[in-house]
């Protein structure tokens, strides 16, 4: 009788020494990572079985998934080790050039230098722990070693085979210089293509929604009358859809226009009112007191006037102006009792304290609140 033990899924760790196999395996088996590593090393002495097993697991075990593509970090400087090996082998080539046994060493130089460059391109490129200097060092070290070893062997009247290997090494060296650009180009191309496909898909969906749902929502609002519950829901829905369609995934941030838009949307949900927001000028950060005062003005208009409220935001160099205009019966500031703090405090007082001005003006057809604030350009 066996008892089933809940084991974590076998996944390669994203914080790894070489491939993340040992850590993942240790977690899966409930062993110490050190035990697993020792086992791999010990098995490697049995005709390299450990190394083969490691490579096999590396290829087949999936990488630990991560939410936002956290880069994999590998602590072992494999590329550097390979470069050092290549350098030592190059020294040997320099010493015994001309002898027949140089062929084996040439192959070692070519192999280790290639491993170093491939490792650098495949893994170190996306590893934040590897500096650009380290990566360039690996790349140009490999090129230098390949060229030096190759030319030395060629100059010493080698055997035919050694000559072919030497020429091959020089070709590899050239390839190493070119490869990073090709790899980068390919990666860029793929990213661009994926982005284009996504954009295309989104545009298609947007066009479809635009042609169908938005029209219907507009019609509902039209026929139901601006102040009715149905129109309010339709308008809230329209606003939501429009935000999604036209602003996309762009972060809203603390832009003043976006803040006012959010406030307008919230007020429209609570009151039977239609807030028309017009924005002119560049985007600016939202100054707290101005946003609060504008919110109060819009809320007042929604509460006491209803119908359509026009909000106009203009940001020029050095100043921000917000106009909130309604078509209600209007309020006369001088006739307000002193205890009615709403407008006096929360709009005018707030703006004054922030170093700006707030004015409430009664026109023939309604009320207009004007907020003005100087901002450093």
């Amino acid at each position: 009788m066996t008892t089933a033990i809940e084991r974590p899924t076998l996944l390669r760790s994203r914080v790894a020494v070489v491939g993340g196999v040992s850590d993942g395996l240790a977690l899966h088996l409930g062993w110490q990572p050190r035990t697993v590593r020792l086992l791999f090393v010990a098995l490697s002495f049995a005709s390299g079985a450990g190394a083969l097993l490691y490579l096999w697991l590396w290829a087949l075990v999936p990488l630990q998934p991560s939410e936002d593509d956290v880069p994999v970090r590998r602590s072992a400087p494999v590329a550097l080790i390979a470069i050092v090996t290549a350098a030592v082998s190059t020294l040997v080539v320099l010493a015994i050039a001309g002898e027949d046994s140089v062929l084996g060493w040439l192959v070692i130089v070519a192999g280790t230098a290639s491993v170093a460059v491939i490792w650098e391109l495949a893994f170190d490129r996306t590893d934040p722990d590897r500096s650009l200097r380290y990566r360039l060092g690996v790349r140009f070290g490999a090129v230098g070693l390949l060229v030096v070893a190759g030319i030395t062997a060629l100059l010493s009247r080698p055997s035919a085979l050694a000559a072919i290997v030497s020429v091959g090494m020089i070709v590899i060296a050239v390839a190493v210089v070119v490869a990073p650009f090709v790899v980068q180009l390919w990666a860029d191309l793929m990213t661009q293509r994926a982005a284009r496909v996504r954009e295309l898909q989104r545009a298609e969906i947007a066009a479809h929604l635009h042609d169908s749902v938005l029209q219907t929502l507009a019609l509902i609002q039209n026929r139901a009358g601006a102040s009715s519950e149905v129109a309010r829901i339709a308008r809230a829905q329209e606003r939501e859809l429009r935000d999604w369609l036209f602003t996309g995934d762009a972060p809203l941030g603390t832009d003043l226009a976006a803040s006012l838009r959010d406030i307008a949307a919230a007020i429209e949900l609570d009151y039977p009112v239609r807030i028309e927001l017009v924005v002119a000028g560049a985007s600016v950060a939202a100054p707290g007191p101005l946003v609060a005062a504008a919110r109060e003005a819009m809320l007042n208009a929604a509460r006491h006037a209803g119908g359509t409220v026009s909000v106009y935001l203009e940001t020029s160099a050095g100043a921000v102006d917000v106009f909130v205009r309604d078509r209600g019966p209007g309020i006369d500031l001088s006739s307000l009792p002193a205890d009615r703090l709403g407008i006096r405090e929360s709009i005018i007082g707030r703006m004054t304290r922030a170093g700006g001005t707030g004015t409430v003006r009664k026109t023939a057809t309604g009320t207009e609140v004007h907020l003005h604030l100087e901002v450093p350009a």
Binding site: Q215, L219, G281, A364
Partner: protein
């Protein structure tokens, strides 16, 4: 009595709009695409065409280019600057959103029929932005196409703030006729100006 043709690909919207229009407006016909609109406009000559910006086989601008006779009032659910500027530069005399009430649309149709331009607050805001009025640029003479005069800026600002022409007139102590003249002048600049911001929009939409 003003004669109207409605071009919109949504039959529900067309019938809704038709029912909402004031009784002094006569609808001569409806079309649902660029092709049918051009065929219809070859047989009837309305004073005003109510034109959707997006049509299944093209844009509102294609209709204007194909049948330049009547005056056009663009009507769209979209109020993005590209759409507005695109259709205005193609020759439309005004632009309103589909959220507007039947009375508003009727008033806009009458204004366009009378040769006036119809500016929504949003279009006014865009114009202020595109002509550099926000940055403080001012036209030196009335002939200049790339900037707005001080008076035009005042009128545009009030429209952006939600003032109707009548309210703009009383606010600035000028007649409604003068307001309309200013708005028409701005519309003309919007159509003819070669200001970089505008040509960029137009180029992007392949209107130049």
């Amino acid at each position: 009595m003003t004669t109207v043709v409605i071009v919109d690909d949504h039959s529900i919207f067309r019938s809704g709009l038709r029912a909402d229009l004031a009784p002094d407006l006569t609808v001569l016909g409806e079309a649902s695409s660029v092709a049918t609109a051009l065929a219809l406009l070859a047989t009837v000559t309305p004073e005003v065409v109510l034109l959707d910006v997006h049509l299944p086989d093209g844009t509102g601008a294609d209709v204007i280019a194909g049948a330049p006779g009547p005056r056009y009032l663009a009507l769209s659910v979209s109020d993005s600057a590209e759409d507005v500027v695109g259709v205005i530069r193609a020759g439309a005399r005004g632009y309103i959103t589909k959220g507007s009430s039947g009375a508003d649309v009727s008033a806009a149709v009458r204004a366009v029929a009378g040769g006036d331009a119809v500016f929504s607050p949003r279009l006014a805001g865009f114009v202020l932005d595109a002509f550099g009025a926000v940055a403080g640029e001012k036209a030196a003479s009335d002939e200049e196409l790339d900037r707005l005069s001080a008076r035009e800026q005042e009128v545009m600002r009030l429209i952006a703030r939600g003032y109707a022409y009548k309210e703009v007139a009383s606010e600035l102590f000028i007649s409604i006729k003068t307001v309309e003249t200013h708005v028409s002048a701005v519309l003309r600049k919007l159509q003819l100006s070669s200001r970089h911001e505008l040509t960029a929009w137009a180029l992007e939409r392949k209107l130049l």
